[in-house]
Symmetry: C2
Subunit: 449 residues, 2 copies
């Protein structure tokens, strides 16, 4: 069995702890049952899949911006399919299926489960997924969905109306009668009274089923060609393109705990820990969650029903019930990502100044993981000054190698080719300065260490 985990989406609703590169599913704040540790949504869902006993390979479909976060948090436990541009769930699922077929050599009869990584659920959810997979192999059903028992008439979910069940036992596949995407609240009330379920965004099908959908838009021998021609797929959702049109389709109802942790309000409801990072409170703060990713202290005195979060991107202080509105502001506040987890380690922007003549300086603290390296590159518009403050590594400057260690200062003028490799964990301060400080000012070259 193959599982495709969808990990895309941009991170405005949990600003400032999420941004384009680090969306909500990478925040390491969720409690881990029976452990004082915390984990992120992608870490939780992959752990739960393994613990559920489902015997499946996991492939994460993600964006270029988030690829390094997936690698950093999940390592070799998963395959990664990177969308060359941000489109919708249908193209992302097609690309992942072509990867399974062309790169992993999966059989067309193999069951594929597509699932999001952000709902907060328990074991029953994975039993429902197993039932969906069984239905695909043992019934006429070509596409199986998961239907969550609604708890209120929400206008933000899709509704699936199933055939009346013969008996009220959970865990049976029911035929789908109708789909309704994001109805009004009153329509949602009527749908719920008729027995409709929320569309959980979990799908099961045989690999060949989706490959034939993909073939309508492009057919190639190699996976790379599908990546290159990614724009050939329509930018539509899987629900719209596939689920709403399929006639031979069933839904497995799921009545257990299921929660979308998409907003500060719903996320903090699940967190037993209320303080993350350098936080001091006077003990009178009630229902207040505080997240501090800055290296300066946060002091909180006597507040109520607040979420407070600080990162190099910014600071939010919000009454919890208002926190959903962050999405209206975050995109305006966004400048450049101030903190990123990359395949080679992490960096944070510690200072950014722009002068009236547009010359600017960006100062970062970077840490390369032992053994990791930054590609051989040069910049045409900026100089970089690296002051090494911890660890040992090797630098290449215009082809010449030399060791670097704590205390060394390297001045890299524009145009100079440079690469860096960490032997031990290597930390340095980088001052970039120039007239056009954009991430795109970079030319990469092959280099063999």
């Amino acid at each position: 069995m193959q599982i495709i985990l969808l990990s895309g989406g941009s991170g405005t609703r949990l600003w400032p702890l999420s941004n384009d590169a680090r969306s909500k599913q990478f925040l390491r704040v969720l409690p881990k049952e029976g452990s004082p540790e915390t984990e992120s949504m992608v870490q939780r869902v992959t752990r739960q899949i393994n613990e559920s006993g489902i015997n499946a390979d996991i492939t994460v479909a993600t964006s270029l911006a988030q690829k390094d976060s997936v690698t950093s948090q999940l390592g070799d436990r998963v395959n990664i399919v990177t969308e060359p541009s941000r489109r919708h769930t249908f193209p992302a699922i097609c690309l992942a299926c072509e990867y399974l077929a062309k790169v992993k050599g999966c059989n067309e009869d193999e069951t594929v489960i597509v699932m999001p990584c952000d709902p907060f659920t328990g074991k029953g959810y994975y039993r429902a997924i197993e039932l969906m997979a069984e239905s695909i192999q043992n019934s006429e059903c070509k596409l199986a969905l998961m239907g969550v028992k609604p708890t209120y008439p929400s206008a933000k979910y899709g509704y699936i109306l199933p055939e009346k069940p013969l008996n009220e036992e959970e865990g049976q596949l029911l035929k789908v009668v109708k789909f309704t995407e994001k109805p009004s609240v009153s329509e949602a009330e009527r749908l719920i009274s008729e027995g409709a379920l929320w569309n959980a965004g979990v799908f099961a099908f045989k690999l060949g089923y989706l490959l034939s959908m993909s073939a309508r838009y492009q057919q190639h021998d190699s996976y790379e060609e599908y990546v290159k021609n990614y724009e050939s797929y329509p930018s539509t959702s899987f629900d719209y393109e596939v689920a709403e049109k399929e006639k031979s389709e069933g839904v497995v109802p799921f009545n257990g705990y299921w929660k979308d942790l998409g907003t500060w309000n719903t996320l903090t409801d699940e967190l037993k820990i209320t303080e993350y990072g350098n936080v001091t409170t006077d003990g009178t703060a009630s229902n207040t969650h505080i997240f501090n990713e800055l290296n300066i202290p946060i002091l909180v005195l006597g507040t109520e029903n607040l979420v407070i979060a600080a990162s190099p991107d910014g600071i939010i202080v919000s009454e919890k019930s208002k926190s959903e509105n962050v999405k209206h502001y975050a995109s305006h506040l966004k400048s450049r990502p101030m903190y990123e987890e990359r395949r080679w380690g992490t960096y944070k922007v510690i200072d950014h100044v722009e002068f009236p003549d547009k010359f600017s300086a960006l100062t970062k603290q970077l840490t390369l993981n032992p053994g990791a390296s930054i590609s051989y590159q040069r910049h045409s518009c900026r100089d970089e000054v690296w002051t090494f403050i911890d660890g040992e590594g090797e630098i290449v400057l215009d082809g010449e190698r030399k060791p670097v260690k704590r205390g060394d200062v390297i001045n890299i003028p524009k145009g100079q080719m440079h690469a860096l490799r960490a032997i031990t964990s290597l930390t340095f301060i980088e001052v970039q300065h120039g007239s056009n400080l954009i991430e795109e000012d970079i030319e990469r070259f092959p280099f063999e260490w």
Copy 2:
């Protein structure tokens, strides 16, 4: 007439916008009548003195840590007396009086007014001060105090019980019957019913009066000797050492607006502007004051009765009525000053890392004002890397001068002598790294530019 403005005290109650070097009286947040500009408490009180028509020279008595802030905010308009160590108001006032006598050559008969710089008041306050000064010259009274009409039985002020006035006119000198320092609330109620007044901490006397008090502890020919032997004075308050003991003493009642802006709660009451710095709100925040001295945005959604303040020292989010409790926490949260206004310009700490072996790196962004210079110095435990990102200046390295400008990188290893002078406003990023990064690791040498 001579005015001694007391500007000492450490800044824990308005943390994180105040610290040892920048106490509450330097925050530029107060509204300036008839102007969109804001000013600090020291700027406000000196402006008000000038506008009141009082013809007096102003001498600010301050600590070493705050001297540069006074210079930066008041410039040449005031004399500055720097306490060599932090003691109490009696020694500070003695030293300032010795300065007036020995350095400024003031006559022993000249009137001296001592006043704090933190109460928020209006014109009537300065009229009361003029009356105090007149009483000193035209009556038998040796020490005149100001008594503020109490508005509630506070346990945090000193109470002065005057003789019953012959008539209820304001602005007359009354004989002092009794002093009570910080009574209980019930005792305060009784005192108020008897007609007691709050001690405003404003004093008037002839210079010779205080010089004779000072002479009990030390007598020298030069001011420098008083500075050198500052510890000879007892570390007690002026109230205790002088005011409570003086028999020939009067108090001028003042019944106008007078408010101690010492806490976030009382300070924000006076501020018409509710947002300072890079702040975004959703328009539903009520009675919320937000101060942002960081270069990242703060977003505030739907909060009530909060004060939010962020600086390189830290972040506070407090229910306004609880904000006074910051004093219990600020000293523990304090690390090193993260932002300072110095005589040569400003600096802020943008990053600080310490490794397990105690090696650490401190990164600062510094701006020297045009014409300002940093003294000729060397460090024995740290290297410094300076990357110039704006302006032009001149650097001296082991005696050799050379020009510096935007884009230049200067590596200053430990032991190397260096000085820097700005021609235009000069901004650079400094990375300090070494095993013992303390401000005291500095040896200064004379240098003629």
